[in-house]
């Protein structure tokens, strides 16, 4: 079959026999330089080793988000870890997947600025009251807010993300 048909064109020499043998198993991916290295009985074409595989393991990307290391107080970049025990308030604001406070800015129609507080659990109306009071002290104005009980989010008119983030982290969320 294949063996005999290839033998017609190639001389029956030792090195070409190995070539034929490799051509038989075409579905296995072999590096191209195997075909060019001359096979000698004393020296193998390649060396296998498992010692340096440690370096390969370092290159594999992690599939899970790692837990942040313990910091006593705020980290140099400004990130503060959440408190050990949640604060004794009727609501709770969870941290995001990347361990940050879930307060985001929104901009629609090019000029409509909003701040969004997500991942709220518990009594969202109490949070709305506290936020309104905090913003009243900050700006002196009554900021319009929208509570969404289905998605448990709070929308506030205007950009207040930095102030709200520092206020929530000081509370211990």
């Amino acid at each position: 079959e294949i063996y005999s048909s290839i033998n017609q064109y190639t001389p029956n020499h030792k090195c070409f026999r190995k070539l034929v043998h490799l051509h038989k198993n075409k579905h296995i991916n072999r590096p191209y330089w195997i075909y060019f290295s001359s096979p000698q009985q004393q020296k193998p074409a390649l060396i296998e080793s498992t010692e340096e595989f440690v370096f390969v393991e370092r290159l594999i990307p992690p599939s899970r988000i790692p837990d942040p290391p313990k910091h006593a107080g705020p980290a140099p970049s400004g990130w503060t870890p959440p408190a050990e025990t949640p604060p004794p308030l009727p609501y709770m604001i969870r941290r995001s997947r990347m361990h940050n406070i879930p307060v985001y800015t929104d901009l629609t129609h090019g000029n409509r600025k909003m701040t969004l507080v997500r991942k709220v659990e518990g009594d969202i109306w109490a949070l709305e009251k506290d936020v309104k009071q905090f913003l009243q002290e900050l700006t002196g104005k009554d900021m319009p807010t929208q509570v969404n009980e289905v998605t448990m989010t709070l929308r506030i008119k205007g950009h207040f993300d930095q102030e709200l983030k520092s206020w929530l982290s000081s509370k211990g969320f």
């Binding site: 991916n29 072999r30 590096p31 330089w33 060019f36 290295s37 001359s38 020296k43 193998p44 074409a45 390649l46 060396i47 296998e48 080793s49 498992t50 340096e52 595989f53 440690v54 370096f55 390969v56 370092r58 290159l59 594999i60 990307p61 992690p62 988000i65 790692p66 837990d67 942040p68 290391p69 910091h71 980290a75 140099p76 970049s77 400004g78 990130w79 990347m98 361990h99 009980e149 289905v150």
Partner: protein, 289 residues
């Protein structure tokens, strides 16, 4: 919207998401007014080119030289596909990644480590030649690291060395970049690790100068440059040789090496967790040249 209650448990005051069901009116196709109150002029206006559908081409200004012809041409984007781009990485973001444990400061920080930590996104197909270190947040930065980037500003170099770290700028050709950011799909291909190419003529002065901490520069000149920078920015250069992590901080890649610990020519077998190394002299000579 027609509210149809699909909630089996009645007596709940709150509306449930399940309660809302869309109706056929939402999926009507929109056509120009045809007949009755959509009819008469059928939304086309009154007389003129608007109603008669003979408006001129886009950009025509009634005979006045249009804007797109009045402004002269200038080669702003000429040769844009031949310009190397470097994704910026601020020291503030790097510190944030270290604080959250996504980047390990006890190991040499490479482009692979940054991409694995999802700190930067490199697109080699958009002429990205790597990452550049920007000195935004240099006053906050407080981490001792051995970092290797493709470009770095002077302030960033000063901030890294002030904290006792080591910074190197090195060149990766586009194929090496592609392999560096996605090592696992490359290993699955079964190809040998290629050797990293040297920079082109225009980039050789950048990577051979000690001020930029180039990987092709003279180590003695780099030490002099470190002292000069410390004097310029006004800080005391810490002595790294006394450090416990000195061995890690002194780790550097060979000029032709793409990965730490793996030399060009090797094939990685991910399934069997083995590395195959060639033994032929010609191949070894090629890969070590």
């Amino acid at each position: 919207l027609l509210v149809v209650s699909l909630n089996p448990v009645k007596g709940f005051d709150h509306a449930w998401l399940l309660d809302y069901k869309t109706n056929a009116f939402v999926f009507q196709e929109r056509r120009r007014g045809r007949g009755q109150h959509g009819g008469n002029r059928s939304g086309r206006g009154h007389k003129g080119e608007r109603q008669r559908g003979t408006r001129p081409r886009l950009g025509f200004e009634g005979g006045q030289t249009p804007f797109y012809l009045a402004i002269p041409k200038y080669g702003f984007n000429e040769g844009h596909s031949r310009r190397p781009q470097y994704q910026p990485l601020s020291l503030k973001r790097l510190q944030y990644l270290i604080d959250l444990g996504r980047v390990d400061p006890t190991q040499p920080i490479d482009l692979t480590q940054l991409v694995n930590a999802r700190g930067v996104t490199i697109q080699p197909l958009k002429r990205d030649y790597g990452v550049q270190l920007v000195d935004e947040g240099s006053d906050i930065f407080a981490a001792k690291i051995n970092i290797e980037v493709q470009r770095a500003s002077e302030g960033a170099i000063a901030a890294v060395e002030r904290n006792g770290g080591v910074i190197t700028t090195s060149f990766y050709d586009p194929i090496s970049i592609e392999i560096l950011i996605r090592p696992v799909p490359f290993f699955m291909r079964g190809q040998p690790i290629p050797k990293r190419m040297l920079p082109g003529e225009d980039m050789v002065p950048y990577y051979t100068s000690a001020e930029n901490r180039g990987y092709l520069a003279d180590p003695d000149k780099i030490q002099q440059a470190r002292l000069a920078l410390a004097q310029k920015y006004g800080y005391v250069l810490p002595d790294i040789s006394r450090d416990e992590l000195y061995h890690m901080l002194a780790m550097r890649k060979d000029v032709r090496q793409v990965f730490f610990g793996l030399s060009p020519g090797w094939v990685v077998n991910m399934a069997e967790r083995k590395i195959l190394k060639p033994t032929d002299e010609k191949l070894l000579k090629y890969y070590t040249s």
